[in-house]
Symmetry: D3
Subunit: 160 residues, 6 copies
């Protein structure tokens, strides 16, 4: 029986769409670890420490949700922390094919680990970290699309 | 915490693709109810009794899996049996949009019930009950695509 | 300059998703004709008269919106009423390919007539007349998904 | 080396989009057999004899193209006539998923038979036999979308 | 009533596919402003001045079409110039999901502004500024895919 | 009659998915040239010489398959070597739209050259050169996804 799941991602920064998925997963699994991926080839806007911290603040009311970071293969990380499932969100638009490719590769790499998909609320169907950063950069009104602490951080960090 | 899930469908008949999803769900939930939907507007090849029986035989080794039938709204049935989640499979091709539409409607009808998607193994990516029935009708070699008991039933029932 | 548009469809029955599109079109065109299509090969739940009447009630507050019915080619009807554009809604899921095929055929049949697409609000992304009828049939709570008059009609007409 | 291919379909009736694919395939294979499928569950507008005859007339200038009919599994028919490939057309819109499902099932049923896809010219991207029949029924101007002989037949057969 | 629309984009450079959309929009709206977006994070082949100039030459025969440039949020620019709609083109392939995401975000940022989609002619279904630049770079024959003035500019600018 | 085909790509590095397509094409055409594309704007992991060499080793048992490299337009290269067709693979996920766009552009640039699509085996549906490189970088077990010689090269080249 799989009771511990990992929700991997860049979370640069976490959005309300991500939190929507976290809450759904936390209703199914005893323990959900949000695992921020360290990608050596990308140049994030927020540091690993900032991303982890923003997630911790945004999820502090969820008792069975933890925040961590990792580098390397997702399947190896999930195995290491004793998890059995990878959680992913699907938005009405644009996610399906990339997610399916990733889930298939992960199943190839470790067939014991299951990928479980939750559907994002349609009101977040268009939301992504990059869309948020672009809107924040140009001073768009995004305060209902990200947690409060992220909103403040974005205002400081992402300005023209 | 959601520990009981319902996997609704027509299962006319159950395929190895369906069973693949059942096994994945049974690793996540304490109890999975496969619920055969009675659709007043469709004319199935197998009767409700046959479909339920084929599923029972095909899943008898899975301890936390039960088979039932229902009519009416899926969300009401899930609520009635005390379930908290609807299980659905996604194939690499062709399922995503219809599944998303159904999951959104179900969320609208009962927001307490979560839809959880599992990805079918790529080797079953092309499999559907109707493709199976068509191949069986023309005497195609499908014995690795359905459980043994279904294979025999198909040979009896679906002949030109 | 194209100032009159036709929004063709079956409207069996009209949903709030359809009305969302009508309102958007009515902000762009001087006159929008909602044209209920008589399809000799389909068996609708509501009669042509009922569908037209439900639309008239639902759109009576929109001054530049009219309701009509037609049979035959959409392009010929649009030409006959002196329109220059066909209005269509696109939902986040499942519409794009069928709509594109229809619009291409219409452009082939009459290149003077433009098809203009509006995007349905994401909250109606899953909505269709058939999903509504199915939910109504099984007594699902759909009163926020259709206009009030349609809700009453559905309760009378579509019962198990 | 595969030198003989089968192009299966309903061809009810053949369109210029189908002929576009036939010509492409006839440049690759020594012999292309257009094989009209007899589907016991469908009610075509044209009889099998009419569909075969229309195809013969429309392809008479293509020396290495033959017309035949069959019932049963496509893979068995291809095997019987000594073919090694199934030819299919892909349109820019709407074909991909159904075609992929069918090709995968055919590969499962007979792994010796290859499915080869050609891309329809974009000017036929919206064309299908059903769209043609609908337009013909309502007297749309479709003479450039089907071969001449089909155009005449359609005018006789499909009238309101 | 919305009578002024903005068609935003990079136009690096404008193609005949873009012009096709401009002409369609100019038949619906009293005034269409083609607005070249200044993206601080991208490195275009043509300067802002060149892109604006190429657009002006290519659209000089269209009386109600104007060319401008902007930076920042599209919705703020549309609001500033007194426009009510954003015009976007949809190609048969590959555009739909990204366009839907952008339109949803824009609707979130300013719900008064409508996005209106036109369908590109199928003969331009494969056309994009980047495909044009790649073909031009390798001396492909693209003179029917871009306006004459752009063709000359491309020959000067994009050579190996 | 087209008897010689070109399979163009980056092959950085070749995967078993690519080889699957090569074998299919080699059953249809008398001669298949795998042509490694030199892209001046990309920074490959393997040099052109390494990519060609890995392909030669991986295909040495296929008598009618040759390996070459080229720069410039694919259609010009195909023409130069006397080929008549471009071979491309389609995976169940994510390829279709980009491939269709490229094939349309190639048809525009040289209408004598046909693009022929083969369907990748579903077991390689998730496979791509970049997914392989990422997994190799993090020491994932990928030896069944690439030819032996490529596996060794990857282990040397791609290490954290």
């Amino acid at each position: 029986m799989i009771r511990k799941a990992v929700y991997p991602g860049s979370f640069d920064p976490v959005t309300n769409g991500h939190l929507d998925i976290v809450k759904r997963a936390a209703n199914i699994f005893d323990e959900v670890i949000i695992a921020v991926f360290f990608n050596p080839n990308k140049d994030p806007v927020f540091t690993m420490e900032e991303r982890v911290e923003m997630l911790k603040v945004a999820t502090e009311s969820l008792e069975n949700v933890y925040v961590d970071s990792f580098s390397g293969l997702t399947t190896k990380y999930v195995h290491k922390v004793g998890g059995g499932a990878i959680v992913r969100g699907l938005r009405a638009v644009s996610d399906f094919e990339g997610e399916f490719q990733m889930a298939s590769m992960n199943k190839y790499l470790d067939s014991d680990i299951e990928t479980v998909f939750f559907m994002t609320d349609t009101k977040y169907a268009f939301l992504s970290s990059s869309v948020i950063k672009e809107a924040a950069y140009f001073d768009g009104d995004i305060n209902e699309l990200v947690p409060d602490n992220v909103y403040k951080k974005l205002k400081e960090k992402v300005t023209p």
